[in-house]
Amino acid sequence: MTYLAKPRLRHPTLATNKVGYTRRDYEGKISTLCAGCGHDSISAAIIEACWELDIEPHRVAKLSGIGCSSKTPDYFLGASHGFNTVHGRMPSVLTGANLANRDLLYLGVSGDGDSASIGLGQFAHAMRRGVRMAYIVENNGVYGLTKGQFSATADQGSKSKKGVVNTDNPLDLVAMALQLGASYVGRGFSGNKEQLVPLIKGAISHGGSAFIDVISPCVAFNNHPGSTKSYDYVREHNEAVSRIDFISGREEITVDLGPGEVMDVRQHDGTVLRLRSLHPDYNPGDRYAAMAYMQRHHEMGEVVTGLLYVDPLATDLHTALNTSDRPLNALGPAQLCPGAQALERLNNSLR
């Protein structure tokens, strides 16, 4: 991210895609997230994916819940309508929007607090309904916006900024999505652009409910006391002049992980995440094998990334409801109102 305002003028030599847009046309407002937040890398990946897919930006509707992650839709696709809804309940709003107009592309952006805690029910039901959308969870294991409480994806035994130990078992949204019937399920890492962009592209192009869990380190709050000495120190000496927490900007974490590789990634708080990228001959066509594979590697202390499962023939909620091809929001009285004559017949049947 950058704090510098972007120049309004477009450079004449910027490359355009098939629909005539430059990469810049897919950008949004300047991000207000902490410098180095993984969420900004995900925004960049979304911009890249939409540009590469030749999507007209205004044909995308981007919806989110509440949280740092849920703020991000303002930071990409500025020409699209966006909707920052309520905490955890983006899936229902997206479902309604999708029912109203099946012709747009729906991008749902959420956080782990948003989707795995308050919004777990809505997450589950949107998956099982097969709402056509790309649903991205920017997963940092904490509540960013409310400053560092545990989310339901936080590892058991991990410590919060305030030193509280998390005793609950973590939820795995990918495992749940697989179980709930999502027809496209993947996991990425915010810093692994090579892998993330194609994952997002696949999700956007998918014909049913696509889910991607993106591990996205939080600069500000996944610290443990040992590694935050200087942070605390600065904070203590800072409070007199400012009530705002001090957040040290950091370099965003990036990795370059090829197919089949395993890599230890050191996070801002010093903890280590062992990422395993799926092998090129992994078969993503088997939902149950995907579940087992993930589980096995979880036990080995690895977090599997890549496209775990896809049903290329998936259909969506509109197919199930047999709704008209013409979007419901485009129908007028001629198609919707049975008219006075039919009403007269109905009146007669009620006498």
Partner: protein, 617 residues
């Protein structure tokens, strides 16, 4: 026997059926009511049922009313006592001189009866056991057999019932034949054995006119079909579930493309009320007309989203079929007790548009109007019905529709308008009515997109934490609410026959009882100008009405006088001049109750005035 005084009444009595829930009596009882209606005599039936599927007591009360008084009367002239569990209470409810009809298969000791009523015994179980082998049939046809007997006793033409069977079982000849047989079993037994004449009689009349007989929930659903709702999301809750179910039925009938079989509607039974309102918000944001139907507890769950829809200005229609609260209160009884919680639903400063239909006819009309208003005002609109209108069939004016009427889609800016360079500020009050313009997602490649959120923004929808931006927005929302007062259905004034300084305000399902009460009060020399509210915000005519009357009774079905509070709060009305008339035991308010409350108050104040004491409210 003949020494007992009998109630004598033609086309004007109350008969009540006491049954066991799940015994199949509902359709037989409804058949009884409809047969009377077909003889040209108005009826007003009410289901009084428990929150249970099987086993608990259930009642069906039919008011036969040549005068057309459709409110609940109170008291019972004939009890069809089919439930041993409630025998004592049922018996106690009978008016002196009334009639008890019961299954006399098993003898009961004399102590089980009252000396001031007439008892008509019929061995229903014995008769059915003799004719039917199948236990299900024995039970089900018992209901039809008593309908047959009652027809003879009360002068209902059996041919009319047969005709109704014919309509009900069209194409199902076997069912038709067996039902007709059961009916005649009852008729024949009554003719041969129940000879003593009954003083309650139904006689052909011509008092129904072209009115229709329908429940409010079906009517509201039909209003949503006619009003162009395409997305419905709901979660089951009594007494609102039949709204969504009827919407499904009517859409299947009217909204399937004949050539492709495709549906011009989407109905989702959501996982809960949070999701149902969320879907409606999403659909409304994206330009489809959408609604949800629920009841009190559902409204509670929806309030966060209602606040978002209010603040972010998204059209949403909610049908609230009110029941007894708080909490699970009396889930299968009626109340008007969600007024304040809907008027101010959600945190922060909010105000919402409420519509109060008085009967199924207005449920239809107001449901369609609610969809227009929601689009026009870009805000949540509540249709405030209740169990009494929602789940009971009511005689009302036929539905009407003007085919030339277009839907009011409100201020939606098109691609052409954007292209022509119209200034677009999502939250800008360009027309001075507080209502901004909106664009729908996907409209234009470069113009008119904006970010919707529940946080403050400036007139161009840009995130803002500035006080002046917040105040501009909040004050504009108030202006919009003032505009709403000019668009909602206006109150209906019913002036008294004589000039008076007394007024009465009422609304919704109270109407038929109120109208009856006004007649009775007039006979007693008490004259009241009556104003029926049909919506909140209150139009100016309500202010005038309050100003023109020394005292105004506010009749409502809740404990805390919620409508009175709303009048005081919103109009700065003088509390001392607003007299509470409150009924909240879960049964529909009766004319008797209203008359009693108002006449007592009037007499008291007259006595006080005569004694020279200063009057007090």
């Amino acid at each position: 026997m003949s020494a007992i005084p009998q109630i004598e009444a033609v086309n004007d009595f109350v008969i009540k059926f006491a049954n066991v829930n799940g015994s199949g009596s509902a359709s037989a009882n409804e058949l009884f009511a409809k047969a009377i209606l077909r003889m040209g005599v108005p009826v007003s039936p009410r289901n009084i049922f428990p929150s249970n599927i099987q086993g608990l007591p259930t009642w069906y009360e039919v008011r036969v009313t040549e005068q057309g008084h459709l409110g609940r009367r109170g008291g019972t002239d004939m009890m069809v006592a089919m439930n041993p569990q409630t025998w004592d209470a049922d018996l106690a409810e009978l008016e002196p001189g009334g009639y008890l009809f019961y299954d006399s298969t098993r003898p009961l000791p004399p102590s089980k009866f009252r000396s001031d009523i007439r008892v008509i015994g019929m061995p229903l179980t014995e008769i059915c056991n003799a004719v039917y082998q199948d236990p299900r049939q024995r039970q089900l046809f018992k209901n039809i057999v008593y309908v047959g007997a009652l027809a003879i006793l009360l002068g209902i033409e059996p041919e009319v019932v047969e005709k109704l069977f014919g309509e009900q079982y069209k194409g199902k000849e076997k069912l038709l034949a067996s039902n007709v047989q059961a009916l005649h079993l009852g008729c024949d037994f009554a003719r041969e054995n129940l000879r003593e004449p009954v003083g309650l009689q139904v006689r052909r009349a011509d008092r129904v006119g072209n009115r229709i007989f329908v429940d409010g929930n079906s009517a509201a659903a039909l209003g949503c079909v006619y009003g162009g709702a395409t997305v419905a999301a709901w979660y089951p809750i009594t007494p609102s579930s039949s709204v969504a179910e009827a919407f499904q039925k009517y859409c299947t009938k009217f909204r399937v493309d004949p050539s492709t079989g495709q549906h011009r509607f989407a109905i989702v039974q959501a996982e809960d009320e949070l999701a149902s309102i969320g879907m409606v918000v999403g659909a409304g944001w994206n330009g489809a007309r959408a609604f949800t139907a629920t009841s009190g507890p559902g409204i509670s769950l929806m309030t966060e989203f209602i606040g978002l829809a209010y603040f972010a200005e998204i059209p949403v229609t909610l049908i609230n079929v009110q029941r007894g609260g708080p909490s699970t209160g009396m889930p299968t009884r009626t109340q008007q007790a969600d007024i304040l919680c809907c008027a101010y639903a959600s945190h922060g400063d909010t105000k919402h548009v409420l519509l109060f239909p008085q009967d199924p006819h207005e449920c239809f009309e107001h449901a369609a109007a609610a969809l227009d208003l929601a689009d026009r005002l870009q805000t949540p609109v509540f249709l405030m019905t209740d169990l009494d209108i929602g789940m009971n069939q009511r005689l009302c004016e036929p539905f009407a529709w003007d085919d030339s009427a277009a839907y009011d889609r409100g201020k939606v800016m098109s691609a052409e308008e954007l292209e022509a360079g119209r200034d677009f500020g999502r939250y800008k009050d360009v027309d001075g009515d507080g209502i901004p313009w909106r664009t729908l997602p996907g409209t234009h490649p470069t113009k008119g997109s904006y970010f919707t959120r529940g946080t403050t923004r400036d007139a161009y929808a840009r995130y803002s934490e500035r006080g002046p931006d917040y105040i501009y927005n909040m004050e504009r929302l108030l202006k919009k609410f003032a505009t709403a007062a000019t668009l909602v259905p206006q109150p209906v004034l019913r002036p008294a026959a004589e000039k008076t300084d007394l007024g009465v305000i009422y609304f919704g399902s109270t109407s038929p009882s109120m109208h009856e009460a006004l007649e009775t009060l007039e006979e007693q020399g008490i004259h009241l100008d009556a104003l029926r509210l049909r919506a909140f915000p209150f139009p100016d005519s309500v202010v005038q009405f309050l100003a023109q009357h020394r005292q105004v009774f506010v009749v409502e079905q809740n404990r805390d006088a919620q409508m009175r509070s709303l009048l005081i709060n919103e109009l700065d009305a003088d509390p001392a001049r607003l007299i509470r008339v409150l009924h909240f035991d879960g049964t529909p308010i009766t004319a008797r109750f209203i008359v009693q409350a108002i006449s007592t108050h009037v007499q008291q104040t007259q006595a006080l005035r005569a004694a020279g004491t200063k009057e007090s409210a």
